[in-house]
């Protein structure tokens, strides 16, 4: 009986191993290559950031426009919706249960620290990130990267750096915009429903719930989301030669990996908040 159980457990372990080991190895390989790509990009940023500025700076501005300014309407809509759905109802509920004093803490913990950066990052990923993978993947498949190299232009400097910098600045800016709009709309909704607090009292409560550490951590977190999204996108679009058929698959992989990477970074920041 014991030997049957042992044989069964061994075969089960083997089956599980056979199924998950290749996926695990592939994930580790991807992680290693992504880390190498990140280091190369950081090296390029360190050594060449100020170089060729008349070509690179307009590209950064274009990226900020594409992944930031053009997303203002959709982020505005999301901000208004979140204001009504989350902030407005939270204020309402906290009043009903007589816990209005904790409204600021709840909004800071759930919305300002978590929901706003993730929402801004995911909007940038969905609206611009996917299109960028397709654009870069197609450029790679059609040999435009080799054309840049033939011209003595470093593709990391010309294609990757402006995108990573642009995405980083855009996610930071969109997060701030989303926060302000959500809180504003949330207050208006709650006011319309009979909230007795003045704007000064409401925003003062939120400011009191914020600590000084929130500002650098939020900047690092939102910037980190933008940088991760930019790096993963550029890695999948450019790091290896693609055929046109592979561009679609690369896009799907990019979205999944960006979401996982942002959530992992988020977990790291939760730990930092707990320590701080």
């Amino acid at each position: 009986m014991e030997s049957i159980t042992t044989t069964f457990s061994r075969s089960a372990v083997r089956r599980v191993g056979n199924r998950f080991a290749p996926a695990l190895i592939e994930a580790l390989e991807t992680l290693t290559r992504l880390a190498a790509f990140t280091l190369i990009t950081l090296g390029t940023a360190w050594t060449r950031f100020g170089q060729n500025s008349r070509v690179i700076r307009p590209r950064i501005v274009d990226e900020i426009h594409r992944s930031g300014v053009r997303l203002l309407p959709i982020v505005g809509f999301l901000g208004a919706a979140l204001g009504v759905v989350f902030v407005g109802q939270t204020i309402d509920l906290m009043q009903q249960v007589g816990a209005s004093g904790f409204t600021g803490t709840l909004i800071v913990t759930v919305f300002i620290r978590e929901l706003a950066p993730l929402t801004a990052g995911l909007v940038v990923l969905a609206r611009v990130g996917t299109a960028t993978v397709i654009e870069l993947g197609t450029a790679r498949a059609l040999g435009e990267v080799e054309a840049l190299e033939a011209l003595g232009i470093d593709p990391i400097h010309y294609l990757v750096l402006p995108r990573v910098v642009g995405f980083t600045i855009s996610v930071i800016s969109l997060t701030v915009y989303l926060m302000l709009l959500t809180l504003g709309c949330g207050y208006l909704f709650a006011f319309a429903r009979g909230l007795r607090e003045t704007p000064g009292e409401f925003f003062g409560g939120i400011a009191a719930a914020l600590s000084w550490i929130d500002f650098p951590l939020l900047a690092l977190k939102t910037g980190g989301f933008g940088a991760i999204i930019g790096l993963v996108i550029c890695y999948h679009g450019l790091a290896r030669p693609l055929t046109l058929e592979e561009v679609g698959q690369a896009t799907t992989r990019t979205v999944a990996q960006c979401v996982v990477a942002c959530l992992l970074l988020d977990a790291v920041f939760i730990l930092l908040y707990l320590i701080a």
Partner: protein, 259 residues
């Protein structure tokens, strides 16, 4: 002009860029001296394009050594300054539509390498590149996107981009394929101007290498010829040498004498 060979390839194995296990051309031994005009002939799929990309240091070779202007290059490695400096001395015209950047217009495509390497604005480039643009007859197309251009004009834009930085060595992949007679005439004039030296092209004679599927349109005295045929590399020599090797299968096919 330096006496160092512009390109020196020793026992180079030209391999498929996506599948390095597949050899396209064996044992390439080739020395291109400054001012020479070489025609590399071969049928479709013979590996001419990859040979040019290997010579330019863009595709890794399977073995052997490639020297560009005396400096050893290994394709496929990231550009870390020095390689970029060597590449700036050569221009490469890709096959077909020339791999133009679709998000940039014609002028931006041509001006990009000039602006990048000089850290200059497009306005500066417009002034500096005016003689070249006039020579290429591209003045009326400068605002167009590459996607709206026909193959002949797209290739001419790609030529402008390759020439913008004033290269010493110009590699041309199938420059005459798929062109009508008017464009072929223009290209023949350009090749002869570039080979002799022309004010709009920097004034000095360029070292030229043209890959081609046909020998006849490029069979002009003073040029040198090499053949990539059945995975083998052969330096044929001068125009007279090519004509005297008409009995050879590879040469006959490329001269169209089989018809």
């Amino acid at each position: 002009m330096s006496d160092l060979p512009s390109i020196e390839m020793q026992d180079v194995r030209v391999v498929h860029p996506r599948n390095p296990g597949v050899t396209l051309i064996e044992e390439v031994g080739w020395v291109v001296r400054p001012g020479e005009f070489w025609v590399v002939a071969g049928l479709q799929g013979s590996g001419k394009t990859v040979l040019l990309e290997t010579a330019a240091g863009l595709t890794p070779q399977g073995g052997g050594s490639v020297r560009l202007f005396g400096e050893e290059v290994q394709g496929g490695q990231r550009d870390e300054g020095e390689a970029s400096g060597v590449r700036r001395r050569l221009g490469l015209l890709f096959d077909g539509n020339g791999r133009l950047f679709p998000s940039l217009n014609v002028f931006e495509n041509i001006a990009l390498p000039w602006c990048y390497h000089r850290n200059a604005s497009l306005a500066d480039a417009a002034e500096a590149l005016a003689p070249l643009l006039e020579y290429l007859q591209l003045d009326r197309l400068l605002d167009q996107r590459p996607g709206r251009l026909g193959r002949a004009w797209a290739r001419r834009v790609a030529l402008g981009r390759a020439l913008a930085t004033g290269p010493e060595l110009l590699l041309l992949d199938n420059p005459l394929s798929g062109l009508d007679m008017a464009h072929i005439r223009w290209w023949r004039t350009f090749l002869s101007d570039a080979s002799r030296g022309h004010a709009a092209l920097g004034g000095r004679p360029l070292t030229l290498i043209a890959a081609s599927e046909e020998l006849r349109p490029l069979l002009v005295p003073g040029r040198r010829f090499a053949l990539a045929h059945n995975g083998r590399w052969r330096v044929l020599g001068s125009t007279e040498d090519v004509l005297s090797a008409r009995g050879d299968d590879g040469v006959r096919e490329l001269l169209g004498d089989n018809d």
